[in-house]
């Protein structure tokens, strides 16, 4: 069974060098003919199951099928131009021809085998890893979604004897349990994906009872962090249920990625060959992606820390792209230093700190960070005068900032929302902590002034005409004193508001809602300016860029979108998550966007080209909060499993795990200087973590950087600096003021 060895794509090429070409030649014709027979629609599944299909070919065939199917679809809908474009872009002309030749394209397939290979790798990157440009991948994906169901499910039609599935599985199980310890942990990763695929195969082929028995027997063996998925799975017992089940679709559309060391892989391969265990081998070839690395097999804990997502771990190569995580140069602004300020500070007794502060700021602005992106990598809005004023304010404030550390923790100020019967769902503070916005389940957004300054609307147009525009206090005159109040209510959404975000200049507020829109509100007039439609499904999160103008949103449609406030359509669509995008954050340099998802992964996207540049796996539940460290180097993420994970963006590594919370973490925030990480959770606590220590403790040598296999120290307890309970109030939002006072907010729940 040499064909078995021809694993898909590059991996196979790496492995068994010279053999590859032969097998490729052998298999190619079959693939093509198969593809055509399938598309022509007669007895597709029948031929598939009966033909001794080589496993290596299957994925290619699948991709091709997809493409061809898309073409067919387009043609059927008379979208001839799109057909042309797609054919040209995908380089599919050859296949198209061969298809029209109806199976006689064997020679051609032979000829362009290598070419097809490269094309497929391109295609697979598009569909699995990330869209390359904004719009085209979307059309592909959309079309995919409709076709995938049948295409993917049809892959299940080949079947062995259903009663033997248990034998197969337990055979593999016995084998894996008998291998050396060092390999056992690695090979155990196979259990879950194999289990799921075999189960689904049984279900698909209407072997309900066998499927149930199979589940009963082996369901309990799976890792505990898969329990949620298994619960969904065991409800599925009918073929009809498979259609339209999203979780299942995720499993099918993406290949489960496993990282296995070369030694372990060889061991497995040898075993399966000896036993002629085709069933399992087929599944491995078709539905799994085995990322083989050279070196020591990983330990159980290393594996466990990285696994848990819907689609296994991230492939190593996706995290190899360089990420410019440095900060942008601060614009040069003359800070008028008046002596009064100085004196005031001396009185406060912190002259020294001020000095160091200034130094660091000076150096930041002078020296370009080697990791920083080009200043104009993405166009940023010009600074307005008011922005400059605000920057000056910011600098003044930051000179008074308290230096935090394990010995010097921030005081916490808790904003409790009382009488929030309508359900508080989201909170945001402005950067200068002057305003507070709350999103509610009753579709309203409420804004409070945290300072004694009341909220005022701008006068109406008619009244504005009357005022003297030359006067010095024109900004004061345009405000309508009659409307002054402590809080304002913004109505406009038609579903629960799931997130709110202030623009850095405090002129705008964004809110995203279940009604599928993101709305932009003016904080001058307290009216809605724009409704950004595009998601069509609930929008779970939205976040303004640190420089304003851009914002990102993510929702139930599994994509995150990048918008500019003056465009009613998205500039970029970040597609790739296998489930809802639950939270979105901008990198401090505004060049990247991080998204967390229900598929338990975190992805980092390049705003410039829309590529996914990092995939972080390791969470065992939906990711609900993200925070970048102020220096842009690290990312913290919190999920429903109550754990905070820390990531090194540059190296693409997990570098820490903070355990302690007992419920979903909804809020994460680094202090202004990044020494403290604050996390807030449903369990009514705010916890403070020593992030400096967490980042320093990790040794990132070349090996770990290269392989991504890090051994995490279990030091949550040392890193936990404090736990602070609220009174029956889940913590929804955290914010550090410019002076490093920690603000927390949440709705008091009386139950």
């Amino acid at each position: 069974m040499t064909p078995l060895l021809s694993a898909p794509g590059k991996m196979a090429a790496v492995q068994d060098g010279p053999m590859e070409l032969d097998t490729e030649k052998e298999t190619k014709p079959e693939i093509l003919s198969d593809g055509t027979s399938k598309l022509s629609g007669n007895a597709a599944s029948g031929t598939l199951s009966s033909s001794p299909l080589t496993a290596g070919g299957a994925p290619k065939q699948e991709d091709q099928q997809t493409l061809i199917a898309v073409l067919q679809f387009l043609r059927r809908n008379k979208l001839s131009e799109s057909v042309e474009i797609l054919r040209r872009e995908a380089g599919l002309e050859d296949q198209e021809d061969s298809q029209t030749l109806d199976g006689s394209g064997g020679g051609k397939g032979d000829r362009d085998g290598g070419e097809a290979n490269s094309l497929l790798s391109r295609v697979s990157i598009t569909s699995a890893a990330a869209p390359q440009s904004t719009l085209t991948p979307i059309t592909v994906k959309r079309a995919n979604e409709q076709l995938d169901v049948s295409v993917v499910l049809s892959a299940y039609s080949q079947q062995g004897d259903p009663s033997l599935y248990q034998v197969y599985y337990s055979g593999l199980k016995n084998f894996i349990e008998s291998v050396l310890d060092c390999h056992r942990a690695e090979l155990s990763q196979l259990f879950y994906p194999l289990f799921v695929h075999m189960y689904l195969e049984l279900v698909y082929n209407n072997h309900e009872n066998e499927a149930k028995a199979f589940f009963e027997k082996f369901g309990g063996d799976q890792e505990c962090y898969y329990q949620d998925d298994l619960r969904v799975l065991c409800g599925l017992t009918k073929k009809e249920h498979l259609k339209g089940n999203e979780v299942l679709l995720d499993f099918r559309t993406s290949r489960f990625v496993l990282r296995i060391s070369r030694d372990s892989y060889q061991l497995l391969k040898r075993h399966l060959q000896e036993r002629h265990n085709n069933q399992i081998w087929n599944i491995i070839q078709e539905h799994l992606y085995i990322d083989i690395f050279d070196g020591m097999p990983r330990s159980k804990s290393q594996i466990d820390s990285m696994s848990g997502s819907f689609a296994g771990e991230a492939r190593r190569e996706v995290n190899k792209v360089k990420v410019f995580h440095g900060l942008l140069k601060e614009p040069e602004i003359e800070v008028p230093l008046d002596d009064e300020e100085d004196e005031a500070e001396n009185e406060e007794g912190k002259p020294k700190k001020k000095k160091t502060k200034k130094d660091s700021m000076g150096s930041k602005s002078k020296k370009q960070d080697p990791n920083a992106p080009q200043q104009n990598r993405i166009p940023l809005p010009e600074l307005k005068d008011s922005d400059k004023l605000d920057k000056i304010m910011y600098m003044k404030e930051s000179t008074k900032r308290i230096r935090l550390g394990p010995e010097n923790l921030p005081s916490i100020c808790f904003y409790s929302f009382l009488n929030a019967y309508q359900g508080l769902t989201a909170v945001d503070f402005t950067d200068d902590s002057s305003l507070l916005a709350g999103g509610f389940a009753d579709s309203t957004v409420r804004i409070w002034s945290v300072t004694p300054k009341k909220l005022r609307k701008v006068k109406s147009a008619g009244e504005l005409n009357l005022i003297d525009k030359e006067s010095d206090d024109v900004l004061e005159r345009i405000m309508d004193e009659k409307t002054a109040s402590e809080s304002k209510i913004l109505c406009g959404h038609s579903g629960p508001v799931y997130s709110v975000s202030f623009s850095p200049d405090r002129n705008y507020l964004l809110s995203s809602s279940e009604d599928g829109t993101v709305r932009l509100w003016s904080l001058q007039t307290f009216t809605c300016l724009v409704g950004y439609k595009g998601h069509n499904y609930p929008v779970w999160d939205t976040h303004f860029s640190p420089f304003g103008y851009y914002f990102v949103s993510g929702g139930h449609d599994r994509v995150a979108r990048l918008w500019a406030t003056d465009h009613y359509q998205p500039l970029r669509i970040f597609a790739g998550h296998l489930a809802d995008v639950t939270c979105t954050r901008f990198h401090p340099n505004s060049n990247y966007v991080a998204t967390g998802s229900t598929d338990r992964t975190i992805r980092l996207w390049d705003v410039l080209n829309g590529n996914c540049v990092r995939i972080f796996t390791g969470h065992k539940g939906p990711v609900h909060s993200l925070a970048f460290s102020p220096n842009g180097k690290f990312l913290a993420s919190g999920s429903t499993d109550g754990r905070v994970l820390l990531w090194d963006i540059g190296h693409g590594l997990m570098i820490g795990e903070l355990k302690g919370h007992t419920d979903t973490i909804y809020a994460l925030k680094f202090s202004r200087d990044g020494e403290i990480l604050a996390s807030g959770s449903m369990d009514n606590t705010v916890r403070l973590w020593d992030s400096t220590k967490a980042f320093d403790d990790v040794e990132t040598d070349d090996f770990t950087a290269a392989t991504g296999h890090i051994h995490l120290p279990d030091n949550s307890q040392e890193l936990l600096l404090g736990t602070y309970h609220s009174k029956s109030t889940p913590v929804t939002h955290l914010h550090f003021t410019r002076r490093n006072l920690l603000l927390a907010a949440g709705g008091y729940s009386s139950q």
Binding site: V232, C234, G235, T237, K238, E240, H241, N245, E407, N408, L409, P410, S411, I412, C413, F414, Y415, S416, F417, L418, N419, Y421, Q422, G423, L424, T425, A426, L436, G438, F440, A441, R446, W448, S487, P496, Y498, E514, Y537, P538, W540, H556, D580, T582, P622, H624, T640, Y666, M682, T685, L721, G722, T723, Y724, H725, K727, S728, T732, A745, G747, Q751
Partner: protein, 618 residues
């Protein structure tokens, strides 16, 4: 419409095919067995799917509880018709229907017209607002024990700590800082829960409370006496809270007397202080009265009785004020009045009882009372607690023990004879006192011989006198110190008899028999209460006839309902001529001085209620 059945390890709600068939029938479709089975299975699956989808709406709304709304959203996004009409926040309990094994959500019909035309328009809920709480951390990040267990608790062992946490969580929700009573004085519910916790702590036989009893007692006292913030609103039923707290207090003394012995006097003092402080609100006074009542009739006799004259003035002033603005205060005043009445009534009864028991003496005494012992322990908050003898020897004995230096530093105090007391009290309460005695219907009505005698002794002291004289010398004194429950009953040696004769005409009695020098000094201290009664003189007391002049229906039955609750009570159910149903009695001279608002009918009933509520519901 669906019944949930947990199946094996898969915890799924399943819709049985019977339900499917039933539902189909209700819409007029006949289903075959297979179709029903298939449908049932599919319905289960779809339900699960919808539930799973709805959970994300819950998560994003940052809630723990899945709402109907979440479920509807999930349905809507999957293009399914939503389920209307279950949007209320309240839980929807399933109700079973006996025949047909149906389970359904109760769906009451609402009369929209009534609702629309209703005059009591519900107020909108309070405005959403934001409140700030700042936790200042010191350099090390330690703030005020926010969230940490109180220091007293920290010293507990592992197990106890867990126990503590369980308790606090169970009672106070997730928040352990509410342990301090004062922080919750605005919340009657919390206080009530707190009291219930105290009660269960006290009742837990496996828990040695040690010195914590003191803190418990102080918490309870707080509930009894403090003019709670909640009391401002007349709608809040803080009275019950006070009653319950008082009840609890007595319970603590009953069960943990050994631990709180030192506290007894302290508490009496504080109660007294409250009572004598006219500035305190009436609810505090009420608390003091019920507290005294709870501590036993001796406490009433010692504290309340001497204070009554002085206090009466204030109360009367309140009750006589008919102005509208005073209405609330007056209502409170009635409460206090009722409480006092209950207390003094008990006092009288117990005194009388003690006399009779004493009279019974060696004869019927022991066997009968031993059975009574159990009853006493269980449900007689009105009686003096058992440990009392240790610290505060019973009245008659007091003199001896004090002379012996038994360490009772409490204020000097003279026992007053029963008739004297009665006379005095009658002067305050008028017939309402008598009413309360006589309305108690005789239980069973089976005439029991004997013990009636001493009661009559009140009227005809001469007959009882010899009896009592006998008993007084009984050697039960020592025994009584150990056997707690009987304290109240038998050996409460009120050296009464001689005085009885003397009291009727004049109140001040010159008791000779057992009173020692101490008693003399006591009498001097107690006298002022009566002699300094300028305030009382303001009362139109003189207008009232002394008891003898009162209606002759005086011979009452002690073995009434109250007593009937206890075993001894029955022994007093004598063949007295049943008094006419006095509930209908017109208010007597003094009584009608009192504000009339339902005084005859309503308050009386309420008082009895409050009286009853003092009983431990064991």
């Amino acid at each position: 419409h669906q019944s949930s059945t947990g199946r094996e390890e898969r915890r799924f709600a399943e819709v049985p095919r019977e339900s499917i068939k039933l539902m189909a029938e209700s819409t007029g479709v006949e289903l075959s067995e297979e179709v029903a089975a298939l449908l049932a299975e599919d319905v289960c699956y779809r339900l699960r799917e919808a539930t799973q989808n709805s959970s994300q709406f819950m998560r994003h709304a940052k809630r723990r509880k899945l709402s109907v709304e979440d479920f509807n959203r999930a349905l809507r996004w999957s293009n399914t018709e939503t389920v209307c009409g279950y949007g209320a926040q309240d839980a929807l309990p399933f109700r079973p229907l006996k025949e047909g094994e149906l389970f359904f959500v109760e769906d009451r019909e609402i009369n929209l017209v009534e609702l629309a035309l209703a005059t009591n328009i519900p107020k909108g809920c309070a405005e959403t607002m934001v409140r700030v709480h700042v936790s200042y951390l010191d350099g090390k990040g330690n703030l005020e024990p926010q969230g940490t267990v109180p220091t007293a608790v920290q010293s507990l062992s592992e197990d106890l700590l867990k126990y503590y946490q369980q308790i606090t969580r169970a009672i106070l929700g997730e928040d352990p800082h509410l342990m301090k009573v004062k922080s919750v004085s605005h919340d009657l519910d919390q206080l009530n829960r707190l009291l219930h916790m105290v009660k269960s702590l006290v009742q837990n036989p496996y828990l040695y409370l040690g010195s914590y009893v003191r803190s418990l007692v102080s918490s309870v006292m707080y509930c009894i006496l403090e003019p709670l913030a909640a009391s401002i609103n007349p709608l809040n039923d803080h009275w019950t809270l006070r009653d319950y707290a008082a009840l609890l207090l007595s319970h603590i003394f009953w069960t943990h007397g050994d631990l709180v012995s030192g506290l007894y006097h302290q508490i009496l003092l504080s109660l007294q202080k409250v009572l004598s402080d006219p500035v305190r609100p009436l609810c505090s006074h009420y608390g003091a009265v019920v507290g005294l009542h709870a501590l036993g009739w001796k406490a009433v006799e010692r504290v309340l009785y001497p204070h009554l004259p002085a206090y009466w003035a204030n109360l009367q002033a309140v009750l006589d004020d008919y102005s509208v603005s005073n209405a609330q205060v007056k209502a409170d005043g009635h409460k206090v009045y009722g409480a006092i009445l209950v207390a003094v009534e008990r006092l009288l009864k117990m005194k009388a009882l003690s006399l009779t028991l004493a009279a019974e003496g060696s004869g019927a005494g022991l066997p009968g009372t031993t059975t009574g012992a159990v009853g006493f322990r269980e449900n007689s908050p009105g009686l003096s607690p058992p440990p009392e003898p240790l610290s505060e020897p019973p009245l008659g004995i007091a003199s001896h023990l004090q002379a012996g230096g038994a360490g009772c530093q409490w204020e000097e105090w003279t026992p007053v004879s029963l008739p004297a007391m009665y006379c005095e009290l009658y002067s305050f309460f008028g017939d309402s006192l008598a009413v309360r005695f006589s309305t108690d219907p005789p239980l069973g009505g089976a005439p029991a011989p004997g013990p009636c005698q001493p009661l009559e002794g009140r009227k005809e002291p001469a007959s009882s006198a010899p009896n009592l004289e006998n008993t007084r010398k009984m050697p039960q004194l020592t025994a009584s110190m150990n056997i707690s429950p009987r304290q109240d009953g038998s050996p409460r040696m009120e050296p009464q008899p001689p005085s009885l004769a003397a009291t009727v005409p004049g109140r001040s009695l010159s008791r000779s028999s057992s009173s020692s020098s101490v008693s003399r000094s006591r009498s001097s201290s107690s006298r002022p209460g009566r002699s300094t009664s300028q305030s009382r003189d303001i009362f139109p007391k003189s207008r009232f006839p002394l008891p003898q002049a009162g209606p002759p229906a005086f011979s009452f039955i002690i073995g009434g309902r109250q007593m009937g609750r206890r075993c001894q009570g029955r022994r007093f159910q004598t063949s007295f001529t049943p008094t006419p149903p006095l509930t209908t009695l017109p208010p007597r001279a003094y009584a009608h001085k009192l504000p009339v608002i339902g005084r005859v009918s309503k308050p009386v009933r309420r008082w009895t209620c409050s009286h009853y509520s003092l009983h431990l519901p064991l």
